[in-house]
């Protein structure tokens, strides 16, 4: 365990957690308002595609991010239309959106770019780069520089935005008027209705924030992490984000910790590959599939109530029907 390893692990963890974090926060806001969001995967994928396509064509990162956010918000609107306005089943809607996103992104990609579903790589100038170039690599012998410099300060703006948004979402929910109402509508929409507020409006508000965050998550995948969109590049991250949100009990800071944990597992899995299991567990190698499966396994264990209770918002998943 040397400073190079630790430094690069810290850096990788932060980088790998970022899209998870943005998606998990998106899901959190939506679910705190009472709307189940299984479509994080589909929104992130569609946003990534939009960012890749627009970024490549316009050579502008800003436009790419804007496109990603708009696309994700549009999808959130569809979800809202089906579930909030028309009280459709929220789970089915989420599953449907994921299917459509998986197919449509490739169909459009193939048609527009003729590269088998990939978008052309964006220019180097468009890609998001680390803010402080001198920390781009860990340096041997320099512990502070490697761990804090490379580990924490070598990232691009979206990473810092994502972690700042943890505080932002927390502040919104706990310290502002719309946040209070949003939390209330996820627990007791009848009460919010009786107080004269509009339940659908509050839920659409939550869905728009959800779209914004998913848009940022998708942009990150294409503009920062990779250079182009490829089919199914989200690879289940939307579901891991969902797991992190549940693991974090629908609160911003624990969710962030869960995302960091899952990001760490992802970062470590590459390095743990080939690592030896202690003899007491039978020796042999740590199966990489086990590490990859850990986020899901941990979520199931949590849901089973073995690591504390997971209490979702009381009105989660229930379409609100004005009883009077």
């Amino acid at each position: 365990m040397d400073e190079l390893l630790i430094g690069s692990l810290v850096a990788s963890t932060l980088r790998l957690s970022t899209p998870l974090l943005l998606c998990a926060l998106a899901g959190l806001v939506s679910e705190r308002s009472g709307v189940v969001d299984l479509s994080l995967e589909g929104k992130m994928l569609s946003a990534a595609f939009a960012a890749g396509a627009v970024g490549a064509v316009t050579h502008s990162a800003m436009l790419g991010i804007a496109a990603a956010v708009i696309v994700a918000c549009l999808i959130s609107l569809v979800h809202g239309f089906a579930c909030v306005t028309h009280r459709g089943d929220q789970v089915v809607s989420g599953v449907a959106i994921n299917m459509v996103a998986a197919g449509l992104t490739v169909v459009l990609g193939r048609s527009w770019f003729q590269q088998g579903g990939q978008t052309p790589p964006v220019d180097e100038a468009v890609r998001l780069r680390g803010l402080w170039a001198r920390f781009a690599e860990p340096t041997a012998g320099d512990w502070i520089g490697s761990i804090f410099g490379h580990g924490l300060l070598s990232h691009d703006v979206l990473v810092y935005v994502a972690f700042a948004l943890v505080g932002g979402v927390w502040f919104l929910l706990e310290r502002t008027r719309p946040g209070l109402r949003l939390r209330a509508v996820g627990e007791n929409p009848a009460m919010v209705d009786a107080a004269g507020l509009s339940v659908p409006l509050l839920r659409y508000f939550a869905l728009m924030i959800n779209g914004l965050l998913c848009g940022l998550a998708g942009s990150y995948l294409v503009l920062a992490q990779n250079a182009s969109f490829s089919p199914n590049m989200t690879a289940g991250r939307g579901y891991i984000a969902l797991a992190a949100m549940i693991f974090g009990k629908w609160r911003p800071v624990p969710t962030m910790l869960a995302c960091l944990l899952f990001g760490f597992l992802d970062a470590a899995s590459i390095r743990l590959q080939g690592a030896a299991l202690p003899a007491v567990l039978g020796g042999g190698e740590v199966p990489v599939q086990l590490i990859q499966a850990l986020p899901y396994l941990l979520t199931v264990v949590l849901l089973a109530g073995f690591i504390g209770q997971a209490h979702p918002p009381k009105a989660l998943g229930l379409p609100y029907v004005k009883e009077r």
Binding site: E174, R177, L180, V192, A194
Partner: protein, 510 residues
């Protein structure tokens, strides 16, 4: 004194039901006005109209002398009307302060706003004596405090007219006393209070005037000085509709069911059953009289095995049951106990099943319904034949056994359920609200069936909020109030006055 609230000629219909019929009511400012009546009398609908949840079909509302149009609860709040619901409108995971603030937050940033709200609330609490821990999470507060919070919420929004819907339904006697002190103090402060209740003792203790409603209409309005609980009870239950009482009935025989000292607390912690004991003998109908919500429903559920009590014993035939290993519905049926539930829609039938499948509900494991390979399948021919017989015997219309259970009218659904339960020749029959929502012809038929069952030696426990029905059918009347049996009378000794008093009494029978 100006009337704070004046309702004139309010009428409201829901489908076939006339919930309010030409209701006129004036409430003087700064008084406590009681609104009493049975379930379904129309008082909740009337208050819902006043608070903007519904709009009346006809009639006028005047608030403090000005005509008012109340299109939604926002309008009502703006006019100074506040409502404390029976089921609290609170968000459990938020603090009391947050709950008060919701919807009326002073600004975008909560921190500053909370300070303002807190100052105002503390002043209000000092003035009214309503003490609530503002920073506690709502799900940690006891029911009495939650109710005070609801009142605070209404007052914070400037309510000068306060509607309280069955406020003492969830309170212990001590909390009830505290509430009354609070309401008295509010009255001194000039708040007008409308108290919906069916507890006559409370009305006499607190109100300045009382209006009695029955079947959607106002029966009478009295100043409290002119009222007594007997007068109110009589007005509430109405004159007796003489359904006739056939002469002679079978003699009561052996004890088939013996329940002792049943105790059960509801979710809110209030005692739903507070030491109830009951015996059922073969060949008699025992009627449980009392206003709904005093433990009758819980009694039925416990005796039918749908819920286990916290304490008490049950002897059913030769079997003995204790809370740790209580009866369950399947075992109950094995012991020849049948149950016609109060909630026929949610409990008595599977609405999505056709009639011929609903007709086997609860008895689907019976030998006669088994068929197919190794008894794994259900013998549909037998099920269909039995359903046809049931429909014939009980004149269920339409005579279509394939019709979805939800498509039958309420009366016919009830007849089908009765046919099912009676058809199993039970030794004990528990029946709740058998003729609620049933037309008059069917009522006579159902009553005849219950009498026939009794004459054949069955023990029948009849829970009904219709006193007429109890008086027409029962051989023995047990009165329940506040989870206790307050009295037991042979039918010959019954009259409305005595029963009304027992229904309002809170002392357990000796």
């Amino acid at each position: 004194m100006q009337a704070a609230v004046r309702l004139t000629g309010i009428s409201k219909r829901f489908g076939a039901v006339q919930a309010n019929r030409e209701v006129s009511l004036a409430v003087a400012s700064g008084t406590v006005h009681g609104l009493v009546g049975e379930n379904g009398a129309g008082k909740s609908t009337l208050m819902a109209i006043l608070y903007g949840y519904y709009q009346a079909d006809a009639g006028q509302i005047e608030i403090e002398g000005q005509p008012a149009r109340i299109g939604n609860s926002f309008d009502a709040i703006a006019l100074g009307i506040g409502m404390v619901h029976q089921h609290f409108m609170l968000v459990d995971t938020l603090s009391a302060l947050d709950n008060v603030m919701l919807g009326a937050e002073p600004g975008f940033f909560l921190a500053a706003g909370k300070k303002q709200v807190r100052i105002k609330l503390e002043a209000l609490m000092a003035e009214t004596g309503l003490n609530v821990r503002l920073d506690a999470r709502v799900d940690t507060l006891p029911v009495g405090e939650l109710q005070r919070l609801e009142i605070l919420k209404a007052l914070y929004r400037g309510a000068r007219i306060l509607i309280l819907d069955e406020p003492t339904a969830v309170l212990t006697p001590q909390e009830t006393t505290q509430l009354f002190e609070t309401l008295a103090r509010l009255r001194e402060r000039g708040t007008t209070i409308l108290l919906i209740t069916h507890k006559l003792g409370e009305v006499m203790a607190l109100c300045d005037a009382v209006t009695v409603m029955r079947q959607g209409q106002v029966v009478q309005t009295l100043a409290i000085a002119d009222a007594t609980t007997e007068k109110l009870a009589e007005a509430m239950v109405g004159r007796r509709v003489d359904l006739g009482r056939p002469a002679g009935s079978a003699q009561a025989g052996e004890v088939l069911l013996d329940a002792k000292d049943l105790r059960l607390r509801s979710e809110s912690g209030v005692a739903a059953l507070d030491g109830v004991g009951l015996q059922l003998r073969a060949g008699e109908i025992v009627g449980v009289a009392g206003v709904s919500g005093n433990g009758q429903s819980e009694l039925l559920e416990v005796l039918a095995g749908m819920q286990a009590p916290e304490a008490g014993t049950l002897a059913l035939g030769d079997a003995r049951f204790e809370p740790a290993r209580w009866l369950d519905p399947a075992r109950a049926r094995e012991l020849k106990l049948a149950h016609v539930p109060e909630d026929r829609h949610a409990c008595g039938m599977v609405l999505s099943f056709p009639a011929w499948e609903t007709a086997a509900l609860g008895y689907h494991e019976n030998a006669e319904y088994r068929g197919g390979p190794a008894g794994l399948a259900m013998n549909q021919a037998v099920m269909r034949r039995r359903t046809t017989e049931m429909q014939e015997r009980f004149d269920v219309r339409p005579r279509n056994i394939d019709l979805g259970s939800s498509k039958f009218s309420g009366g016919n659904q009830q007849k089908l359920i009765l046919a099912r339960e009676i058809g199993q020749a039970p030794r004990v029959l528990l029946v709740g609200q058998p003729t609620r929502g049933v037309d008059i012809g069917a009522i006579e038929f159902i009553h005849g069936q219950l009498r026939a069952l009794r004459d054949a030696g069955c023990a029948v426990l009849l829970v009904s909020s219709e006193l007429d029905e109890i008086l027409a059918l029962a051989d023995r009347v047990v009165v329940m109030n506040a989870g206790r049996v307050t009295g037991e009378l042979a039918i010959a000794d019954c009259d409305e006055k005595k029963l009304g008093l027992l229904m309002a009494s809170t002392k357990a029978a000796a």
